[in-house]
Amino acid sequence: MALPIIECRDVSKAFTLRTNRQYLLKDRVLGLVRPQLREGGTRFWALQSVSLAVDPREAFGIVGPNGAGKTTLFRIMAGIFQPTSGTVRIRGRIAPLLALGTAFHAELTGRENIYLSAALYGFTTPEIRSVESAVIEFSELGHFIDVPIKNYSSGMQLRLGFSIAAQLRPDVFLLDEVLGVGDAHFQQKCLRHLEHERMIGRTFVVVTHNLDFVEDTCDRAALLVQGRVAAIGAAKDVVHHYRTLAGD
């Protein structure tokens, strides 16, 4: 049995909730003498002792109600957040892909955004050049590729975002609600692409509310409730458990 490609051990994450989002210098200075002003807020545990392992070539679903900590776990796996305690080990290259695409810049054209986004994933200029035409072709944006992103519809932006990620060839794809990308035709195309990527041995971690998709596509799944793993196991069982819980 190969080692798990993603291994979360006892991962907990606390956020400090501030009633006033602005953290002024005054509060810091006063906090030195009046402890009750220090950090001015309550600690909120978004994740508590989450342990899970994803095996290579597996499709793993993460489901749960809103505010259960799914996106926090996603960001910790992607390396965007550091856990407050516990450890995360990733044995391979990982590409996070969020529903809203990468951070496109509105004033830049689609083509310029390909370069910026791919560089954000650590690509060098020659590497980006070598995938540029494949990205444009997959996105089906045609001559719109040289138009500023601010003139794109949201569907067009999502298409470009997915097309860039599709060329990354990582070991693990982290997907956060990206399955509803664009129109029916493009959705089908994305699903076919992901299916192909699965066939050639890539690992998938999918955060989604689409339970049918998890049931049909994922091997295993975890149910998060209030920052804890409430169930983990075969995707069908976990989804069934979640549906019973939700009184469906």
Binding site: I80, F81, T102, L120, Y121, F123, S130, L168, R169, P170
Partner: protein, 268 residues
């Protein structure tokens, strides 16, 4: 194996930063393009801006305020252009993490690239401004062409490193103290007048001299003026102070940034 490598980068900070050099390049290009997009003159403004500024100060100091410092226009422009580079870089750095919130929350990349790109963007404008001003200084305004000009390049290089160091400090502080921007609004004009840009340090009364000497910007500006205007080496004191300031702020700034950047994504 062919195909793109991407993603396949080291965990150690410096090799990781180097692996993301293309990102720095496209962030700088983004700043330059976004600034000129939608304008009629486009990138030509990069050249027009320093040119018009220099013409304006030429008229002011040649015909209105006549100052009793030899080669005053060249003397002033050296300090002024360095100040513009420093203050614009520092202002941009103070908000560079907050301005790129969307990027930071959606992908994992070395965040050092953001202040580095902010400083490089303004260094580009500074280099263009110098390319306009240097020939004028050498031909008309009494600057001396000599091998000592190598010092100008070296000191400006150190100045860029020092500015980056201050940028690392301020970009970190800007995340945790939102007041940083207001403090800069008030603090930068004070710092400008505490820097010998419009005057020579010798003109200040003895009581204020220690303040000027403690200001790192006066050492940098003095060490560029000496070789450029008088054709001599920068003073040993200036060079020593420059080495200390650059090394000290760069080491502390890099440490500060590295130890807090893992929390930026949740603080912005």
């Amino acid at each position: 194996m062919g195909g793109p490598r991407g993603l396949d980068v080291s965990d150690r900070p410096l090799p990781r930063l180097f692996a993301y050099r293309a990102l720095v390049k496209y962030l700088v290009l983004k700043d330059i393009k976004v600034r000129s997009r939608g304008t009629y003159l486009g990138v030509a403004w990069t050249l027009m801006n320093p040119l018009l500024t220099i013409v304006m100060y030429y008229v002011v100091f040649q015909y209105i305020f006549v100052v009793n410092i030899p080669h005053f226009l060249a003397f002033f422009l050296v300090g002024f252009l360095m100040w513009v580079f420093f203050s614009r870089s520092v202002n941009a750095a103070a908000t560079c993490i907050l301005d790129n919130e969307a990027m930071i929350k959606k992908s994992a990349f070395p965040l050092e690239t953001l202040p580095i790109a902010a400083v490089l963007h303004h260094f580009f404008h500074h280099a263009v401004a110098l390319a306009v001003a240097l020939p004028l200084m050498l031909i008309f305004w009494g600057a001396a062409l000599s091998l000592n000009l190598v010092w100008v390049t070296l000191v400006l290089g150190a100045f860029a490193c020092f500015t980056l160091a201050v940028a690392l400090w301020l970009s970190t502080l800007g995340v945790f103290f939102r007041d940083a921007r207001d403090i800069l609004d008030v603090g930068l004009p004070i710092l400008m007048w505490a820097t010998p840009i419009f005057y020579a340090p010798e003109m200040a009364p003895a009581i204020l001299r220690p303040i000027l000497a403690a200001n790192p910007l006066s050492s940098f500006i003095g060490a560029v003026r000496a070789p450029l205007l008088d054709g001599r080496w920068p003073s040993k004191m200036h060079l020593g102070l420059i080495a200390l300031w650059t090394a000290g702020t760069l080491v502390s700034g890099a440490w500060l940034f590295a130890h807090h950047s893992s929390r930026f994504a949740e603080e912005v």
